[in-house]
């Protein structure tokens, strides 16, 4: 694993030398600012409305975490769905397009070093995005008093979603030499993964799958990233949800390794 820093470092540098990293970071920052402002305005409008109608108990149940931070983080996870494929699309596809895969595969490296080095670089940029998103809820601690634990677990959830998406994107990039195909493939995979819970929530679909509580519906729910992210957002840090993300990342990193290695089987 001693080549890991060299591979991850080159990957990160190339993300920052090409406009990819800057485009992704600035788009994410702009959207984060916009969505945070939106969430903030909605929150204050809702507060004013409840005060005007004198709904004291509803007003008391209003809190920064559930009414502001969670909707914001949830939107930011949707933005990751679009941006993470942009980060990962070049990981392996561009090596093949450049012919540099021939350099990597004829160097004294293991496939694991190549795959993990590249994944770590993508993961680094994803964590930078989550950090950017985290700055906005952090502002609230200055004027308000959101719950620290709940905010932190929501951000950890966002980070895990991003890391899971990066693993899926890395796999998509490893099966093609065309960056656009890598982008489209990872976007579709992620969208499907995300939509599973939506499918399970639609009444007729649930009926066809055996109704609420049937194992198919439970499985769809379990496979969906949204479901696990939501629980972290509610402040429930459960090993079951952490395990889900670990398995998601692990499975796609393994698939990536197999896909990169498959050059040697042909």
């Amino acid at each position: 694993m001693r080549h890991l820093p060299a591979i991850a470092g080159r990957e990160l540098r190339s993300l920052f030398v090409s406009p990819v990293a800057y485009v992704v970071l600035s788009l994410y920052a702009v959207l984060a600012g916009f969505f945070f402002l939106l969430a903030l305005l909605q929150y204050s409008e809702w507060t004013l409305y409840l005060q005007a109608v004198g709904a004291a108990d509803q007003l008391a149940s209003l809190n920064l975490n559930d009414t502001l931070i969670w909707p914001f983080l949830s939107l930011m996870s949707v933005v990751l769905l679009f941006l993470v494929p942009g980060i990962t699309m070049g990981l392996f596809a561009s090596e093949k397009a450049n012919g540099t895969d021939e350099l990597l595969l004829t160097s004294p490296l293991t496939i694991w070093e190549i795959v993990l080095g590249k994944y770590l670089a993508a993961a680094g940029l994803v964590l930078l995005l989550v950090f950017l998103a985290g700055l906005f809820p952090a502002l609230l601690f200055w004027k308000g008093d959101p719950e620290l634990g709940k905010t932190a677990s929501g951000l950890i959830g966002l980070a895990l979603v991003g890391l899971g998406y990066a693993a899926v994107g890395a796999f998509a990039s490893s099966v093609t030499r065309n960056q656009f195909i890598a982008f489209a493939l990872s976007f579709v995979l992620l969208l499907l993964l995300w939509m599973l819970s939506v499918l399970a929530a639609i009444q007729p679909a649930m009926g066809a799958l055996g109704g609420a509580g049937s194992w198919v519906v439970d499985l769809l729910r379990y496979l969906s990233t949204e479901e696990h992210f939501q629980r972290l957002g509610e402040g429930l840090v459960d090993t079951q949800d952490l395990a889900y993300f670990a398995v998601l990342i692990g499975v796609f990193v393994l698939l990536t390794k197999a896909s990169v290695e498959s050059v040697r089987w042909r």
């Binding site: 190339s14 450049n98 540099t100 004294p108």
Partner: protein, 256 residues
């Protein structure tokens, strides 16, 4: 330094390389000849570990490519047909990266890059971005990445293809220099593929000709010239003779 033992590559029913064996010593520059699709690139890719052999094996500096793949790959400098360059990197940064991949110790990397830059005549472009370099310079960067870790074995796949006559002359003299180094530099075993016969006469002392995946000729340039008159006739005898129409066989077959 290089010992190929019945190297074979099959793709389904197609046998791209058929039981090719040869041995190359330190200091030898061997021209690997053949028409397009004869199996040159495939053989080289098997030697470098990029493609696994279906059958047979090879020893690189005494390391079996299957038994000790990492040690074998460490001993090889390889310039593929298309130089494996990252267009967004600068020349020095790229060479330092390759040095790290090839296990040049951290403390020795700067010196290794320096030496490769000097030997390949890259001093004036060392800080330039590779994507902005001319084709000739890119080829030199490709050669520099192959020699940066001073490997005992150098495998060059058509190192002069697509270059202008001046660049071709420069690259050739560089290759000749690599095989007969100055004091303190390592002597290398060099194998280079080409289908340009004057190139072979200019830099190689030995020729291996493969045709339709088989080794058909292996001998010194001198001996072959006296036997056949010219290398051209030798080439024609073994490649076109099998094809009365004179068309090169299996165009674009195994070579990708």
């Amino acid at each position: 330094m290089i010992e190929a033992r019945e190297l074979t590559k099959r793709y389904g029913d197609l046998t791209a390389v058929d039981s090719v064996s040869f041995e190359i010593q330190r200091g030898e520059v061997v021209g690997f000849l053949g028409v397009n699709g004869a199996g040159k690139t495939t053989t080289m890719r098997m030697l470098t570990g990029f493609l696994p052999a279906t059958d047979g094996t090879a020893l690189i500096a005494g390391h079996d490519i299957f038994g000790e793949p990492l040690a074998a790959r460490r001993a090889v400098g390889y310039l593929p047909e298309a130089p494996p360059l990252y267009p967004e990197m600068d020349v020095e940064g790229y060479l330092a990266y390759v040095a790290a991949l090839k296990d040049v110790p951290r403390g020795a990397r700067r010196e290794a890059v320096e030496r490769a830059v000097t030997r390949c005549g890259l001093s004036e472009v060392r800080r330039r971005v590779i994507g902005n370099l001319s084709k000739g310079f890119r080829q030199r960067v490709g050669l520099a990445q192959a020699i940066v870790h001073e490997p005992p074995v150098l495998i060059l796949d058509e190192p002069t293809v697509g270059l202008d006559p001046t660049q071709i002359r420069e690259i050739r003299s560089l290759i000749a220099e690599l095989a007969s180094p100055r004091e303190g530099e390592t002597q290398q075993a060099v194998i280079l593929s080409t289908h340009i016969l004057p190139e072979v006469e200019a830099i190689c002392r030995r020729v291996i000709l493969i045709h339709e995946g088989r080794k058909v000729v292996d001998g010194s340039v001198e001996a072959l010239t006296s036997e056949y008159g010219t290398l051209d006739q030798m080439f024609a005898r073994h490649t076109y003779a099998a094809e009365p129409t004179g068309a090169p066989a299996r165009e674009g077959g195994a070579q990708t």
